[in-house]
Subunit: 417 residues, 2 copies
């Protein structure tokens, strides 16, 4: 196998060092370069000062074959990157006609007057290959200098991502003759990372040397990524797919998707495929389950509505929970959460409904029902099921975890059409 | 004024370079150090490899007076930071009794058996000052070497933040004899950054040289931070506060808080102070307004519930929107959103209700009501007000912006008690 290139990332901007902005660009770049098999050796964030940027470039090129920078390409005075690169590579700014047309088109589209500072953005270093910015006014730049590739992109995540996907990643793959690489994502929910690893340890050990497995854990879920590098044999993808039936057998219905979609989208696809409508009745999650379900574009096909019943009066009046059940068992109980799910199904006129009632914290816990106690329920025409979970890592993470658990309960309980 | 120290941050971990984890620690550190007047010169993320960590330390100390590292302190084999630092400073690991007691206490609290790897975590380099970890098993370390301070902390944000606040920041302030510094935060909503800057340009220009203003913009809101450095004159805080009446006069009711709390908490405080209850009726925001309001601990004092009416049948049945209004004006209209707010007030039995109906996108737009068109309404016993906004930067940002705008409408419309 040919040697794969190393990369370094330099993110530029005082706002990163002051902590006003969290750098999300580096993680995106690391993930995308990783998919090509390009390893990121270091990420460096520097201020908008020329000397610091030049030092970072000098050091990065000693370690990496490709140096990607983001930031400092805007039209204002503190955006220095283009001028610094022009000097760094000993060249000069010249008007790039095609970039000028792009910038003009952007202003025409938004029907705004174009300023001289924006026109200046179409002046680019003579030795660079411009990288088209389909969604903003600052073009990117590709330089090759003494065997190192330098790529400069805007800091706006939306613009940078589009530029990477459309232009930079394909060009890097060609330039470095990156061997074909294949990825398969298997997403699981409801199994801890170490337990999952134990379940598939011997399967993983038996993988051929050119196929690697990565664990990407998040709250209650683990994404598995299988990466195959070309080994001169035909049909790499087919050989990877042949490994999956055994993995599926081991993990069973913990697998919720074999593509890179969130759990709420996987659940939405099931609902749409089976022609079912859904609604929620939420106490402790306060509308977050409804928010997650409706964060998916097109969710109005299956999501009809919710009743957030924070106050017990609303549980009684809008969901039909019996006052005597509340009095006997309290709001955080199996009995109440079942009535909430069944009531939501009736009131919202949906095929299936889910419900939550719990103690999100930080206050409100009791010895019998400490903070982090959550009752979840699911109801359809044939059955109502309830489940209790305990999880306490702070209010927002508790709400997140309860929401993911409820979405999983919904996924596993849906009637097969 | 004495020379303030420079800092550098080194975040350690393969997961950062692979992009599996977004580095949020650096932004927190940058903000907190900035409040002391300590400037972060550079942030570097490196892998768990000894040679790369040592190189990063060598370079950082040439530029900075204090080097803070996060990560690599866990109990597993890839956690190398402690061993690398032990060798880097030419010392050896010795058992630290007080750290051992802390680790034992953590395990006792969670009633779990303590493993030998956890006991190992109480072995620390002989020349370091241990930094207590109040919420985890890995102690931090403070080294002083040839005039540079090195601080090593865990990568878990929760543990690192607690360590910074409890120990590291006060110790840095003492060690570097950082002069007293004062901060005042003024939070505004509903004014663009450049418009806001124009409104207060001459006020800002007239600030004394030891008082600086920073703009920290986010979606629809701008946080202003006034930072005063000691200048040998008495009562710095009082002199800063004397500047505020004029700022308040210029910005009027765009100011929603003079402390560092989110908009939903400021709104919640108003509701609690005035003894009012609130509910929401949500279409396009799908429960996100309810989620925001209930993300504040203690919100059950004023938040009673919501009806998420994604489907028009639920707008009619649960909120009392008239079918003929829907037919005549469509769901995204002033008429419907007013009826939603008024209906929610009645049905939920709340003092005030707010409502949303809009086109969050990416699909569903029409020439008259393009994606990003939102109608917002507020209703109490005396009035119903509605407002139209347009904002289109992608589904989630659209929902965020509409939610912030509605919370602001709620804040500005609440009756004075």
């Amino acid at each position: 196998m040919p040697q794969l290139p190393n990369a370094e990332i330099i993110t530029i901007g005082d706002e990163l060092l002051y902590g006003q902005v969290i750098d999300t660009n580096s993680a995106f770049l690391g993930q995308e370069l990783g998919k090509l098999g390009i390893r990121v050796r270091q990420i460096t964030s520097v201020s908008d000062r020329a000397d610091e940027i030049v030092t970072a470039l000098d050091l990065a090129r000693t370690r990496a074959d490709v140096v990607l920078t983001t930031g400092g390409l805007g039209p204002t005075k503190d955006d220095l990157t283009k001028h610094i690169l022009t000097e760094y590579f000993g060249t000069e700014l010249v008007l790039n006609e095609s970039s000028l047309r792009d910038v003009e088109a952007i202003f025409a589209r938004f029907n705004r007057p174009m300023l001289e500072v924006n026109r200046q953005q179409a002046y680019l270093p003579a030795t660079c290959t411009p990288i088209r910015n389909a969604v903003g006014t600052a073009p990117g730049m590709w330089f090759e200098d003494k065997g190192t590739v330098f790529v400069s992109m805007p800091g706006v995540p939306f613009e940078m991502k589009r530029m990477m996907t459309d232009t930079v990643l394909p060009r890097l793959a060609r330039h470095f003759q990156v061997p074909p690489i294949e990825h398969i994502v298997i997403q699981t929910v409801g199994l801890g990372e170490s337990f999952l690893a134990e379940q598939i340890a011997d399967w993983e050990d038996a993988l051929p040397p050119n196929i690697k497995l990565a664990y990407l854990p998040s709250l209650g879920a683990v994404r598995l990524r299988l990466t195959g590098q070309a080994d001169g044999q035909p049909n790499l993808r087919g050989r990877m797919e042949a490994l999956l039936p055994e993995l599926r057998r081991r993990l069973g219905n913990h697998i919720f998707a074999e593509t890179d979609i969130p759990l709420e989208q996987a659940v939405g696809q099931l609902l749409a495929e089976r022609g079912l409508t859904v609604g929620t009745a939420e106490s402790c999650t306060g509308g977050y389950v409804a928010h997650k379900l409706t964060s998916v574009p097109g969710s109005s096909r299956y999501f009809l509505g919710s009743i957030v019943s924070y106050h017990n009066d609303i549980k009684i009046k809008e969901l039909g929970v019996l006052p005597e059940t509340l009095a006997a068992h309290g709001a955080v109980s199996e009995e109440v959460v079942r009535q909430m799910a069944e009531g939501a199904r009736q009131r919202l006129g949906v095929d299936v409904a889910v419900a939550t009632s719990g103690v999100a914290g930080p206050d409100g816990g009791t010895p019998e029902k400490p903070v982090g106690t959550f009752w979840l329920a699911y109801a359809d025409a044939h059955q109502t099921v309830a489940r209790k979970i305990s999880f306490n890592r702070g209010r927002q993470l508790n709400i997140d975890y309860a929401t993911n658990s409820l979405l999983n309960l919904l996924r596993l309980s849906l009637p097969v059409s």
